[in-house]
């Protein structure tokens, strides 16, 4: 080839120079497990439904959410949101208000009448679900969506279990509960109320059921022996809350003492206040920090004028008076009696000392193991009797609605596998996207949106819902506070910050690809990825 004077080589582009050969470590795109998803007892893919909510696509968000949990409007009111406790944003400013967005989506679904897609095909298998509480409803929903025929038998006159008979209306309005239960039934779930199952094996045989899921809950209030005069009015909190659903409201008098330190004690005291008690006092044998009740519920109760008497046990009840002994915490934190007594004026005493399970339906079922009053189940939620699974409050667990819903989903997967003669293998979990994997610089400062609260006067006298919801503008804002921990949200940072132009943008929804021909392995992309979706791995040399 002819060259001009003093030119000996053809000019060309630097693209001929494959600088990728310099690399000693390579960036790779990874997906990590967001802490919210990891913490959710119902196994919701929270980050995924927030992703849709962020762009205002609330229906897709709701449909993604309900893949795992059929009751977002209930969850958005009663869940203790362990997701928010785990949220990485709490270490930046405040946790994302996941629970309030969930409620918004649930309420949107009710308002717009969104319904579940019916099952594509029927499997021909029949499953009996005993108990129409959160666990039973969740199992029924998941089993029905897969195509199994499901019949729920509920001993009580209404469905909902503890969601109706345990959680007061001011926390969970009944129209919301009914709407979400009805949507499950519309899938083709058979709901039989007032039908107590006494002998589960016989019921399965008579109804030609291939499997059963037991979720009867824990509805028997624990009693404690308290010497009492003949005119003393003593009732248990479970019965009190249950009777709130009936025609005749319980008569408690003007001064009410609740004995116990759990959420049920708080619910009972707040209910008593709303029924007209001028004084509602919670007596607990330990201190506030040792109370099993959730702190925000204690706080709300105190706001409403509920009084607390710490370090006290009830020794005796007579008409109108209660004898209380003061306690002292020992070195190990256990309350010990002091021998000091005092008297409290009261018209009635409500015992909130925990609940037991009515296990009579399991009488005569071989192979079952029952420890501490609850049924033992294997990792697949199956009891010792093949084909009978159990979940919710009647198995060893933390007794919350969300845990129960999670049990229902988990059991449904294993029941389905069992019916097919296979074993359900859960997919492997990604590595956790902990805060040290994130570069939080890139997220704008944005404090959490606070939900409106009903004013105190109405909280003390009515059963109106205490906590309000978000509207569309602030729900969108709240959803967008999500950091997308561990999963690429296509912010273009890697594409922008590469000094070697070695990141290829694949277009919306397609994420990115590294061009290893030119990537020198500097690691700027991994360092500047806001959400920790890039890992540097050593090259094999």
């Amino acid at each position: 080839m002819e060259h001009p004077f003093a030119i000996s080589l053809d000019v060309g582009t630097s693209l001929a120079n494959l600088t990728g050969s310099w690399r000693t470590s390579r960036p790779v795109y990874v997906d990590r497990l967001p802490p919210c998803n990891n913490a959710c007892p119902a196994g919701e893919n929270i980050q995924s439904w927030l992703y849709y909510a962020e762009s205002g696509d609330y229906e897709t968000a709701w449909r993604t959410l309900t893949i795992d949990n059929p009751m977002p409007a209930v969850m958005g009111r009663v869940c203790y949101h362990p997701c928010e406790s785990a949220c990485n944003r709490a270490q930046v400013d405040e946790a994302v208000g996941i629970n309030s967005v969930e409620r918004f989506l649930g309420d949107e679904a009710i308002r717009n009448g969104w319904r579940f897609a019916p099952p594509l095909a029927d499997s021909g298998k029949r499953v009996l679900v005993v108990g129409a509480g959160p666990s039973g409803l969740s199992a029924a929903y998941h089993l029905r969506r897969i195509g199994h025929a499901v019949e729920i038998r509920e001993a009580g006159p209404f469905s909902g279990g503890m969601m109706r008979f345990g959680i007061p209306k001011y926390r969970l309005p009944r129209d919301v509960l009914d709407a979400e239960i009805n949507r499950i039934i519309e899938l083709g779930v058979v709901m039989k109320l007032n039908s107590k199952v006494d002998r589960v094996v016989e019921s399965m045989r008579d109804g030609r059921f291939d499997a059963a899921f037991l979720a009867v809950g824990a509805h028997i209030g624990k009693r404690s022996y308290i010497p009492a005069g003949s005119a003393a009015k003593i009732l248990d909190a479970v019965a009190l809350l249950r009777s709130m659903e009936g025609e005749d409201k319980p008569l408690l008098g003007r001064r009410v003492v609740v004995y116990g330190g759990g959420n049920t004690a708080i619910d009972a005291a707040r209910t008593a206040k709303r029924l007209g008690a001028t004084e509602a006092i919670i007596v607990y044998r330990r201190t506030r920090d040792r109370m099993p009740a959730r702190d925000f519920e204690v706080e709300e109760a105190l706001q409403e004028g509920i009084m607390m008497k710490w370090l006290s046990t009830i020794k005796r009840m007579d008409e109108g008076t209660l004898t209380v002994e003061k306690m002292q915490l020992d070195d190990k934190g256990f309350p010990q009696p002091t021998g000091e007594f005092e008297t409290l004026e009261t018209d009635s005493l409500v015992l909130a000392l925990g609940q037991d399970v009515d296990l009579s339906l399991l009488d005569g079922v071989p192979g079952l193991q029952i420890n501490d009053g609850v049924v033992q189940v294997a990792a697949n939620m199956m009891t010792g009797y093949a084909g009978i699974f159990a979940g919710g409050d009647m198995v060893p667990s933390e007794r919350t609605v969300t845990v129960a819903v999670g049990h229902g989903k988990k059991a449904a997967r294993h029941i389905d596998a069992w019916l097919r003669g296979t074993v359900y293998a859960p997919p492997e979990k990604h590595e956790l996207a902990s805060i040290d994997k994130l570069n939080t610089w890139y997220y704008a400062d944005a404090p959490k949106t606070v939900r409106p609260m009903l004013e105190i006067a109405r909280r003390q006298s009515t059963f109106e819902e205490v906590q309000g919801g978000l509207d569309e503008t602030n729900a969108l804002y709240e959803a967008r506070r999500c950091l997308a921990c561990g999963n690429c949200f296509e912010c273009d940072n890697c594409y922008g910050v590469c000094p070697d132009n070695a990141v290829i943008k694949l277009g919306p929804g397609q994420r990115f690809r590294f061009n290893y021909d030119y990537c020198k392995g500097c690691g700027v992309c991994a360092q500047e990825c806001p959400c920790g979706a890039i890992a540097m791995v050593p090259e094999e040399i």
Partner: protein
């Protein structure tokens, strides 16, 4: 609810909490995304260049020229001073430039650019704009005379200085932009005053402001939105303009290659590198510090300052550097979120 967020008082974006400060964002409108977020960005400086791993200058040059290309509709000629940028992009016979690009000498980039702009005017192609670019050595030391001439004549050139605080290409020698106490090949960390001597050096942006030219700005590779906005603004003005971009240099500074942007960010957040704008001799605004850090956070990631962390005397020098940063913060009102916009 306020749906916008302040990007350091220079720019308002819609409130996309998820990645408001990022290069792009799937939720942001096209107008709010950076040039670098676009798949049809020019890549004025393309792959295969021989810059070191994590080179801040390679990044800064692509950021600046891609923005200038978009602002001028592709009618752009670049003139380059000798330096890293020239060497690593054009080892004979290769080039990484995807625009018309001229290199002459170390010290005359401003004068050559003036000539190119004059040639375009004479040829009746005034729409073709000219950018001159160089490192801090070619700008603040060797090219200083030509640059000052370009300023005082108000020639129609945007001069961009990629400031990596030393002569990195030739083996990390001190320049008049090297910060005090920094170890370089010519200011070793030994003797009674280890590293670069306090009280030496100069501020080229201040000197540019003193020329009263239409536009002077500083920027860093850590804030792309701010950098692109300044380039676009500069290309909308005729006459002499000066932009100094702070570009960390991993081998020269002794920092990890992945920390390039992090260092550029820390330099601003501690006050060592003030980011500001000036028009016709008057400072008009500054980029506010978002999360203030002590200078230690910035210094300790760089081996050129490692000697400060081993002796009591070094600690004294760190407080001297902190005092410099504090003076910048007061002078450019870097913490003052009220007032100048």
């Amino acid at each position: 609810m306020d749906d916008s967020t302040s990007l350091a008082a220079t720019q308002k974006l819609r409130f996309y909490q998820k990645g408001t400060f990022t290069v792009g964002n799937r939720l942001a409108s096209e107008a709010d995304r950076s040039v670098q977020a676009s798949t049809d960005r020019s890549n004025a400086l393309t792959c295969g260049h021989r810059a070191c791993q994590g080179c801040g200058e390679a990044l800064g040059a692509r950021y600046a020229l891609d923005a200038a290309l978009r602002a001028t509709g592709g009618n752009l000629i670049a003139v380059n001073a000798t330096g890293c940028l020239e060497v690593f992009t054009t080892p004979y016979p290769e080039t990484s430039w995807q625009i018309p690009w001229v290199h002459s000498l170390f010290g005359n980039a401003a004068a050559v650019a003036t000539g190119v702009a004059a040639a375009m005017r004479v040829k009746g192609r005034p729409q073709v704009r000219v950018v001159a670019q160089g490192g801090d050595g070619g700008t603040t030391d060797i090219g200083f005379g030509c640059l000052s001439g370009m300023f005082e004549r108000n020639d129609d050139v945007l001069y961009i200085c990629y400031d990596n605080e030393g002569y990195m290409n030739t083996g990390v020698q001190r320049s008049s932009a090297t910060p005090p106490a920094a170890r370089t090949a010519t200011t070793p960390a030994m003797g009674p005053e280890p590293g670069n001597v306090f009280g030496t050096g100069k501020s080229m942006p201040k000197i540019a402001v003193a020329h009263g030219i239409p536009y002077v700005a500083t920027a860093t590779v850590a804030d792309l939105h701010d950098l692109e906005r300044k380039v676009v603004k500069a290309m909308g003005i005729h006459g002499a303009r000066y932009l100094q971009i702070h570009v960390p240099c991993p081998p020269g500074w002794g920092s990890a290659s992945q920390d390039t942007i992090r260092l550029a960010r820390l330099a601003v957040e501690c006050g060592m590198f003030p980011v500001f704008e000036a028009e016709h001799g008057v400072v008009t605004g500054s980029r506010k510090i978002r999360r203030r850090v002590p200078v230690d956070d910035y210094l300790k990631l760089q081996r050129r300052f490692a000697h400060l962390f081993t002796t009591d005397e070094g600690k004294g020098r760190i407080s001297q550097l902190q005092a410099l940063a504090d003076r910048n913060i007061a002078e450019y009102r870097l913490l003052d979120h009220e007032g100048d916009a």
